[in-house]
């Protein structure tokens, strides 16, 4: 458990120091005025992707013998991904924060974001409630 806590600490500190948690940086990104956020997301995906390829190549396994890796997501009609993704995107640019940064902001600088966080929990709850009636 301590490993997960420390990985989280590193993530929170990087989000803060690279200003990923700033509403202004998110605006700069969506207005295509700076490379900063694209550089961060792009290089993160690249490093993550190369590590996943390496893990697959080395056939790393857990102590129980399960192969390390992500489980594949079923695409289906894709409706949940495009609709859910767009709804999240609308909120991302309003709050200037995705879920990790929401928590980081409460910890380090903008305490009113605890209201946004509580509202996000309400949003997830409402999704869970409506789930049987939504197209997926």
């Amino acid at each position: 458990m301590i490993a997960y806590f420390l990985i989280g600490c590193a993530f929170g500190a990087v989000l803060m120091e690279a200003e990923v948690i700033s509403w202004f940086r998110i605006q700069e990104m969506f207005r295509f005025d700076a490379f900063h956020m694209y550089g961060i997301i792009g290089s993160a995906v690249l490093v993550s992707g190369l590590s996943l390829m390496l893990i697959k190549k080395l056939q790393l396994r857990t102590a129980e013998g399960e192969p390390l890796g992500l489980s594949p997501k079923t695409v289906g009609s894709g409706v949940r991904y495009i609709a859910g993704g767009t709804i999240f995107g609308l909120g991302w640019a309003l709050t200037g924060a995705c879920p990790g940064p929401l928590v980081a902001l409460v910890g380090g600088g903008v305490p009113v974001m605890i209201v946004a966080l509580a509202s996000a929990l309400a949003g997830t709850w409402v999704y869970g409630f409506l789930r049987p009636h939504l197209p997926h």
Partner: protein, 180 residues
């Protein structure tokens, strides 16, 4: 500490979280799952989506989230960021009514006193709600779908990330100019 931490340091560090979690316990990076775990812990209300064993499946992730909170608090205390965005963005934001450019987010919107103003309510309360609803619907956020899913070349994640940007652009160019 230079501000901001350059993208070529921050990005690779964030990317390394994916293999670090796999090696630590074959866990998949994804912050928004925690919203589901917290709902399951606090108010499951017999809803199927919250009927999972959140302790067994989510305790590691909630621990990571506590780390995010702590790491951000420590970083903000010892090396507070001073956000200097591009002149073009400042000009565009001034044009739609943002006045305060100090801090991480505009104080004229993101403050306790603004919660009951229209723009404060929309940005904080409605924005937060959409983040929680949308990530649960899409089954992931920037971490799960972009940093992990896209890197794993999953089509579902690519579709989700296209949605993230479509929504973000719509807010930036159509909603924010009308509410700020």
């Amino acid at each position: 500490m230079p501000h901001p931490l350059p993208w070529w340091i921050a990005g690779p560090l964030i990317g390394l979280i994916v293999p670090a979690l796999l090696i630590a316990g074959n866990k998949t990076f994804g912050i928004s799952s925690n919203f589901r775990h917290i709902c399951a812990a606090v108010a499951p209300c017999g809803i199927e989506f919250f009927g999972h064993d959140w302790k067994r499946l989510g305790l590691w992730n909630l621990t990571l989230l506590a780390g995010v909170f702590t790491g951000a608090a420590l970083a903000a205390h010892f090396a507070p960021p001073t956000v200097q965005i591009s002149a073009r963005t400042i000009e565009a934001l001034r044009g739609i009514g943002v006045r305060d450019f100090a801090g991480l987010a505009p104080h004229d919107v993101f403050a306790w006193a603004s919660l009951l103003t229209f723009r404060g309510f929309v940005c904080i309360v409605a924005g937060g709600f959409l983040v929680g609803f949308g990530t649960a619907y899409a089954g992931g956020c920037t971490s799960g779908h972009a940093i992990a899913g896209l890197a794993d070349r999953q089509l579902a994640s690519l579709i989700a990330v296209v949605g993230f940007f479509a929504g973000g652009l719509a807010t930036t160019y159509f909603i924010l100019p009308r509410i700020l």
